[in-house]
């Protein structure tokens, strides 16, 4: 199980029941902790619905009590190819 974190301005950004695009950062221990990926995913407030866990912070860094499970469908590469 992976642990992820997302920053949102509004909890409405985490719509359930459909694919959403978000930037999430890994909370897995190790030297890459807190690095980001931009992904297409599904989230659910039912914690055992999806394999990974998602923690939420608000726009100024406040930790939200709300918890989600998350399924990362794919990583979306936004980076133009000339910078790869």
């Amino acid at each position: 199980m992976n642990q992820w974190e997302v920053f949102v301005m509004d909890m409405g950004e985490l719509a359930e029941g459909k694919d959403i695009e978000i930037s999430i950062r890994t909370l897995n221990p190790g030297m890459h902790k807190y690095t980001y990926k931009h992904v297409r995913a599904q989230v659910s407030s039912t914690l055992d619905k999806f394999p990974d866990q998602l923690q939420v912070r608000m726009g100024r860094g406040q930790l939200s009590p709300a918890k989600f499970s998350i399924k990362v469908i794919e990583e979306i590469r936004r980076l133009p190819p000339q910078y790869s």
């Binding site: 920053f7 950062r25 030297m31 807190y34 690095t35 860094g61 980076l79 910078y83």
Partner: protein, 485 residues
């Protein structure tokens, strides 16, 4: 100029601070995740010695140096002065050196440059190989650049810019940072690179000599490599980058080379800021793609932990903004006695002492201050007369509360340049960097009769004859009072 013996590298500076009792060596292991940041923050809030953390969890061979210039004592050490020097003495020395002849930097061979001892290129490039700290819990990421210089160069004019633009690690090869449109780099990007869709080469230098960091932080019109030479009394040593034509401080601990992407942005923030708050919204900001990392053996990463006063962001920025405004006002022939920003104002209030020579002098000062390139960084100017000690907040506050007319003395300037970092700004103002400014004119009006209209200041110094003052002072302990320092 007499010989200056200022520390020429971050390492020499740490040694000088330890020797003076202004840095402590922390031998036990410190976690890069929050613990190091918390140590630095507490040191700032206590005005304590700078922490030199010699062992970092997960990163053997690296160290941290926190709060490098968060006290005037360490600022004096950085200039090669007595640590006990007073603020006016330090300011006078800064003005003397920065009004001297420019000293051009020298470019040395890469084999002599300590920052080239380790070089990561290609698939080896990974920012996570550096001990990038999570400075505050809840920050949007680990911050690579908190006390550093982002080096860029205008491709046509050749202007070199070293600026302290915060940089967050987004992924192993990407950083994002807050570069405001009114900053030197912001102007360079909007004027040249963004319209052409061309990437801008950059190099981030971390673990600079304290005077190189001071130059990167100062809003001076003098190119930073020359300013470093003027401050230290000898040429700055630079070396060419591995992957672009920029030149970077050869003695820096870490160099990150890459390009600023004109067509790609990732999120940055939130971050604990110099105002003492997390204010600016998380947003898509200027994005830096990393192509190369070089670093010294046993490299030391410098950490500034911005928050409530006082940290070096507030202290050094207040110091240099005030003195650069003093230079500007003197260049216009305005009879100022001095300019001072108290660091606890989080460099928001400029206090100007002036001989009230003519009507409207306070407004002239405010217009020059707000209209200059320094202006976006503060929103209050308070003008007091030449009898008020600008460094003595009790005197300044008394002048403000008693001489500033609520209608005639307060002047508001609307729709000026602002920053998203202003805590008082509305969400709309933050989003569009809309500012507003205020002048507090604490001068007696020039058209008041000096004998009958201007109130007499009732103080020990002002109302008693000299002989009475001397008698009271010489008998003070005889009256039974303890001696006054």
């Amino acid at each position: 100029m007499s010989k200056i013996s200022a520390p020429r590298s971050n390492r020499e500076f740490i040694e000088a601070c330890v020797k003076a009792g202004d840095a402590v060596r922390i031998k036990q292991e410190v976690d890069w995740e929050n613990e190091a940041g918390a140590i630095v923050r507490r040191a700032c809030e206590l005005g304590a010695a700078a922490p030199f953390m010699e062992k970092i969890k997960d990163y053997p061979g690296f160290s941290y140096f926190g709060a490098p210039l968060s006290t005037y004592r360490r600022m004096a050490i950085s200039l090669g002065m007595d640590p006990a020097s007073s603020l006016p003495e330090i300011g006078k020395e800064y003005l003397k050196r920065t009004n001297s002849e420019p000293i051009a930097p020298v470019v040395i061979d890469r084999k002599d440059a300590p920052c080239k001892e380790n070089i990561l290129l290609g698939a080896d490039v990974d920012l996570c190989k550096l001990p990038v700290p999570l400075v505050h819990d809840g920050d949007g990421g680990r911050y690579v650049g908190t006390w550093h210089a982002v080096v860029t160069k205008h491709p046509v004019r050749g202007d070199v810019n070293w600026g302290m633009y915060r940089q967050m690690m987004f992924d192993s090869r990407t950083m994002s940072g807050a570069v405001f449109p009114f900053s030197d780099l912001g102007k360079q990007l909007s004027e040249y690179y963004l319209p052409r869709g061309i990437s801008c080469p950059f190099a981030t230098a971390i673990g600079l000599s304290p005077l190189a960091a001071m130059a990167a932080c100062a809003p001076s019109p003098i190119p930073e490599p020359e300013l470093v030479g003027m401050l230290s009394g000898e040429p700055a040593r630079l070396v060419k980058c591995e992957t672009n034509d920029l030149e970077v401080p050869a003695d820096a601990e870490i160099i990150i080379e890459g390009e600023i992407c004109p067509d790609y942005k990732v999120e940055e923030g939130p971050f604990g800021e110099y105002t003492g708050y997390r204010t600016s919204p998380r947003d898509f900001r200027v994005t830096f793609r990393v192509n190369c990392i070089t670093y010294r053996n046993n490299a030391t990463m410098t950490i500034s932990n911005m928050g409530v006063p006082q940290d070096e962001g507030q202290l050094l920025r207040s110091f240099s903004l005030g003195l650069e405004l003093e230079k500007l006002l003197r260049s216009q022939g305005i009879p100022v006695t001095g300019v001072y920003m108290h660091p606890r104002s989080t460099h928001h209030m400029m206090i100007v002492g002036v001989k009230p020579a003519y009507t409207g002098i306070a407004q002239q000062i405010a217009q020059l201050a707000f209209g200059s390139k320094l202006g976006p960084w503060f929103h209050m100017v308070m003008v007091v007369d030449d009898q008020t000690d600008i460094y003595n907040w009790d005197e300044v506050y008394h002048a403000f509360c008693t001489r500033c007319h609520p209608e005639n003395g307060i002047h508001i300037y609307r729709n000026t340049t602002g920053t998203p970092l202003y805590p008082f700004a509305t969400p709309h103002e933050r989003k569009y960097s809309i500012g507003s400014k205020v002048l507090f004119d604490c001068l007696w009006p020039v058209d008041w009769d000096k004998t009958n209209d201007v109130p007499t200041l009732v103080s020990f110094k002002n109302v008693y004859p000299k002989d009475i003052q001397e008698r009271v002072l010489s008998n003070w302990t005889a009256y039974g009072y303890p001696a006054v320092k």
